[in-house]
């Protein structure tokens, strides 16, 4: 499976770039043959396009960063991140053999995404996570991340309210509404979910236009 994935990833390299990177060695005689005014091209080779030699070039199979390394969360503070992990686990638990948000690394990915987003989006997350911890402290005298499942579910009741076009006024409710979709998307689009029943994140990608 892993090998197949690596192969697919290679196929994602744009044809133009791939060819450019795999040009045969420079022909030493080329500089002397250049016409006046034509810049020398050190990558220009001698094989005509489409030759047998070009077809035999090796196909390397790289992977994506998530396939080889761990994300380094750095946007949320420790209490916020712990709360995000807890709420992510509740929103997208592991089900029917499919990985949940924690196994998919959704909290770590969202730490990156929200950290790269505008101030409004960052405020929604930080205020919501702080609000969850504050309410948890008030009701149970412990952080949200330390609650048992029943206690934590009690603080997620806004997610059981009917949808309205207007955003909720309460910071926790507003955060939960956004997080419900973000955690779900981050999980379903993850590399870990790729092999599972829930996977949905593929599409026709457009490279930048020339």
């Amino acid at each position: 499976m892993k090998r197949r994935r690596f192969f697919k990833t290679l196929a994602a390299v744009p044809a133009g770039s791939a060819l450019l990177a795999q040009q045969p060695a420079t022909n030493q005689s080329t500089p002397n043959q250049s016409a006046p005014g034509v810049p020398l091209n050190p990558t220009r080779g001698t094989q005509p396009p489409g030759s047998a030699a070009a077809e035999d070039l090796p196909k390397l199979e790289p992977t994506v960063p998530d396939g080889a390394a761990d994300a380094m969360p750095r946007f949320f503070n420790s209490p916020q991140f712990t709360a995000l992990q807890k709420v992510s686990d509740l929103i997208m638990p592991a089900m029917s053999g499919s990985p949940g948000a924690l196994a998919a690394g959704a909290p770590e990915f969202l730490d990156f995404l929200i950290g790269d987003s505008d101030a409004d989006r960052q405020r929604v997350y930080r205020a919501g996570l702080d609000g969850l911890n504050a309410e948890s402290k008030k009701q149970f005298n412990k952080a949200f991340g330390d609650l048992d499942a029943t206690q934590a579910a009690g603080l997620l009741t806004p997610l059981k309210q009917p949808w309205t076009y207007e955003e909720p006024g309460d910071a926790v409710a507003r955060f939960l509404r956004v997080a419900k979709i973000d955690v779900r998307t981050a999980t379903l689009n993850s590399r870990e979910a790729g092999a599972g029943r829930r996977f949905q994140g593929s599409g026709l990608y457009w490279y930048p236009l020339d």
Binding site: P93, M95, L113, D118, T185, Y205, W206, Y207
Partner: protein, 520 residues
Amino acid sequence: MAANEYDVLIIGSGASGGMAAHTLTQKGVKCLMLDAGPLVDFNRVRQTKQAYELPYHGFGEPGKLPHVVQANEFNANQWVDEKEVPYTHDPKMPFNWVRVRMIGGKSLFWARMSFRLSDYEFKAKDHDGFGENWPIDQAELAPFYSRVEPIFRVAGRTEGLKQLPDGVFEEDTTPWSESMNRFIGQAKKRDIPVTKMRRALGRGQFASSFNLLLPAAMETGNLTIVPNAVVRDLTVDKNTGRVNGANFVDRHSKREMHAKARVVVVGASCLESTRILLNSKIANSSGALGHYLHDQTYITQGVVAIDKSPKGNQGGGSGGYAPRFVNLKKGNEEDFIRGYAFDFNLAGTPDPKYIPAYGADLDKALADYRGKAASVTIMGEVLARYENFVSIDKNVVDAYGIPVLHFQCKYSDNESKMLKHAMNKFEELCQASDFETLAKHDQPWPPGYSIHELGTCRMGDDPKKSVLNKWNQSHDIKNLFVVDGSSFVTGGYQNPTMTILSLSMRASEYLMDQMKARAI
């Protein structure tokens, strides 16, 4: 070096520019086409990828295309970069200007919905007193629609509706699903027609000028296309007062160039064409240039409802289209004028955001609702009002040094009342058809969302009130034509592409006749 001089310079390669080239070149007219974007090799620029292979895992780069709701991380590169070609607007009046720059233009990506306008639109003022009539009517444009539709292979069901004239269809005889029959029964009781979607089938993967119009034009040997040519402005012969070409900037090198022609046909899309004319400071003796900006107002997922029947989605198609059914009689039947359409489906799966659950409960609800959800896009007519306009922002230029557009545009109470009516009517139909409402709202996307900008070079018989005459020809400059959606007087509720194509074909044939008669 002496540059070529062409018979006709066509600016833009989308639906309108493509049709102008298609029509003119086949009659022997030598055309030069400039387009701001590249000629795309679709096999090279597109590739299936997994979301996790993208830097933002499918969420998209934050802030990259703030006005393009349609963009995602997969297709972000197909839209015009808002930093490269910016525009400005009052923060309280957002306008979502969604643009494509490549050979084929937006006709590469349109939703293919293919409708004719009726005299409820062409003669709207006669009906309810607001605005202006078009200088043409349905009968005058009908022969051109009839020639355009076979080129684009429009599928649809012949209905005989006055408010949605039939076309030359590849007749859609597919059956309806059980839930659609239930829904149609309730709609009939309320005099609401329901028909199959009218959609261009095209050829292969596109229904675009790229594959349906430009190849035939190229085959004549009479069309020269220059991609990556960003038009700055049109040039005018000081002696005759006529246009004689265009200044453009090469997109890659930023080199300034000039193209010469006897006639100029502008089809760069409604607002880019208007921007070119405004920057050229021509064709505006009426003062109407840039004004009367309108589109169609859209609500997506205005009502989401769940079918109570377990087998409603069986037996046939579950997607339908209900054209305008309000205000069809003289006088105002409602507390708003004009009308709207429903583009709907009764057998979808609801967006998880509408389901009041999370975790395993949400997954179970999604499984239970799969194939049972009704959802509707409401498409409403927007009144063409002078107060909604674009002008040149003298303080901002794009990456090519060309002054950009400033937008001043907002919807009125008429649109708000219309959309509330539409939401309530669709919910009424759903409930009467044994669906249970999951969510609803009557809040439209900002103006521009429908990607149907219209009206900023409107046509008319009176040169004091309009930019173009009924042949899409400038009142002020006889060898200048504008053939895109900017020529519309009213837009109705219908997607405009078939009308744009028909107007461009008609204008191009008139232009040819005028050139033959040496009147131009």
